[in-house]
């Protein structure tokens, strides 16, 4: 009798370990895939920027500095090594682009130009895709982390070599700054 009880307990334990292990493997792969999605979108952004700069160059002759800054930021971002470095350089690129778009508002010919509008839309979309890919990555990485750290899975997660996934965070202080808030409640 006691023998069979022990057998049952061991069997249940084995089933639980297998199930937990497989679930963690699934989550780990999802997390890795989420990370690659961010890369895909960043690559797309790097490919689009030269087009944009070339299109606006003629009209924005006087903003040569800004255009050069964008191209330089792009080159630095494309050459980034490692996630933390990439995050910082991509942040700088985002800021350079933001300046470019803000300045472009001063050029009526640019605002009316269909090509520029289309490119701007493409770039806005890519920015959003990068943002959403990061958001999705953070969501599944958090899921993965919670699964590892909650009891009782935490007892076996580390011994099987599962480790905490890094979340994507804003790197530069300027990005972290709170935007100016208008409290007059006009809508």
């Amino acid at each position: 009798m006691a023998f069979w009880v022990i057998v049952a307990v061991v069997a249940l334990l084995a089933i639980w370990i297998i199930a937990t292990y497989n679930r963690l493997i699934g989550l780990r792969n999802q997390t890795a895939n989420g990370w690659r999605q961010i890369d895909v979108q960043l690559k797309r952004r790097h490919d689009l920027i030269p087009n944009l700069v070339n299109t606006v160059r003629g009209a924005m002759e006087f903003e040569r500095d800004t255009l050069t800054q964008v191209m330089e930021a792009r080159a630095r971002a494309a050459a980034a090594t490692g996630p933390t470095d990439a995050a910082r350089r991509e942040g700088e690129l985002t800021q350079a682009l933001g300046r470019l778009f803000a300045l472009a508002e001063n050029y009526p010919t640019l605002r009316a130009n269909e090509n520029v509008k289309m490119l701007q839309e493409e770039l806005t979309s890519t920015e959003n895709k990068v943002g959403f890919a990061r958001q999705f990555y953070n969501d599944i990485a958090t899921n993965y982390n919670i699964s590892q750290q909650t009891f009782p899975a935490n007892m076996m997660a580390s011994s099987f070599g599962f480790s905490r996934a890094e979340l994507f965070e804003l790197q530069s202080e300027t990005e972290r700054q709170v935007p100016a808030v208008d409290l007059s409640m006009r809508k």
Binding site: E121, E122, K129, I140
Partner: protein, 328 residues
């Protein structure tokens, strides 16, 4: 309910709906045996067997082809074919924007990008259909594209993709397809009666079976009643199912964009455009983000709206979203 539970519940309900549909088919077919053929002395339940086969085939057709039927019925045009025919640069820009927004939200939801359709109709509306995220389509009217800003469009697309992600689309598409089939079928059954298959035979069978006649009459009335109310029941079912899901899709859509205010603004604008969406037929009303028929019944909560409206009151949905926007 978390996402997995929602998906599981939708899968279960889809099965129940399909089974109920086939059962209804068999009842109709068996009634045909009993009242039409039985009276002529045919003993093999040929109607029931034929109905079982036909019912199963249509249930499967609704499952696998329901999305195409719904898209076809609303005259939806694939985005790729509507881009070359766009009349102006402005329109081309809007279509590109729609394509981009759908891709963005698909990334946010971690889903494959659904096929994008445009319904040429000036009234703002949108719907999603398909049996799972791998076979999903999302359709918006051209009026919606003209009316909404980019962020509002994001909100609407996120609402629709939430329906895709939690498999609401599977259940609602199957219901749309099968309610249509039931309506057609009960129409046939009633028409068959009008041609008098029973009129001449009833006295004949009463003579033959004696006391069974009264029972047969009761059964016949029940059968007839089933044939008449079935489409109505189907409609009410579709409405009850979809109404509760709208709040949920609003909330999970807002969670995807992290921007409930934009969806609230979008609903506000859609609501102010009072005209009914002509291209979208009654049968697929419950798939849309806003009631395409522009019915007044959905303005308040209560018994009749609960019974007849496909959507909860727009004011309540907007209020719920605004509240979320303040909490963030």
């Amino acid at each position: 309910m978390n996402l997995l539970e929602q998906q599981a519940s939708n899968k279960r309900r889809t099965w129940v709906v399909m089974a109920a549909f086939v059962a209804f088919f068999v009842v109709l077919g068996y009634g045909f045996d009993l009242f039409y053929l039985g009276a002529r002395g045919v003993s093999f339940p040929i109607g029931a067997v034929a109905a079982l086969g036909l019912g199963s085939v249509s249930a499967l057709a609704g499952y696998y082809g329901g999305d195409r039927a719904v898209l076809l019925a609303s005259h939806a045009v694939p985005l790729e074919t509507s881009v070359p025919s766009a009349s102006s640069d402005e329109q081309r820009f809007k279509l590109k924007q729609l394509d981009n927004v759908v891709e963005e939200i698909a990334i946010a939801a971690g889903l494959p990008k659904p096929k994008v359709y445009v319904v040429p109709d000036p009234d703002p509306n949108a719907f999603a259909t398909g049996r799972d995220p791998q076979h999903a389509s999302i359709a918006v009217t051209s009026g919606l594209l003209d009316l909404l800003t980019r962020e509002e469009l994001q909100g609407v697309v996120a609402h629709e993709l939430s329906h895709v992600r939690n498999l609401d689309v599977r259940l609602l598409t199957v219901i749309a397809a099968l309610v249509g089939a039931v309506a057609l079928l009960s129409d046939w059954a009633l028409r068959g009666m009008r041609y008098g298959a029973l009129r001449g035979d009833r006295s004949h069978s009463r003579e033959k079976r004696g006391g069974g006649g009264a029972l047969m009459l009761v059964l016949f009335v029940l059968w007839l009643a089933a044939a008449i109310v079935a489409p109505l029941v189907g409609q009410i079912l579709a409405m009850a199912v979809s109404r509760r899901r709208e709040y949920l899709a609003d909330a999970s859509g807002a969670a995807l964009t992290r921007n409930p205010g934009a969806l609230a603004d979008a609903l506000d604008r859609i609501d102010s455009a009072v005209e009914p969406t002509r291209a979208i037929k009654r049968g697929s009303a419950h798939l849309c983000i806003a009631d395409p028929l522009g019915r007044a019944v959905g303005i308040r909560e209560g018994f009749w709206p609960d019974l007849l409206a496909t959507h909860p009151p727009m004011k309540n949905r907007i209020a719920a979203l605004r509240q979320m926007a303040y909490q963030h």
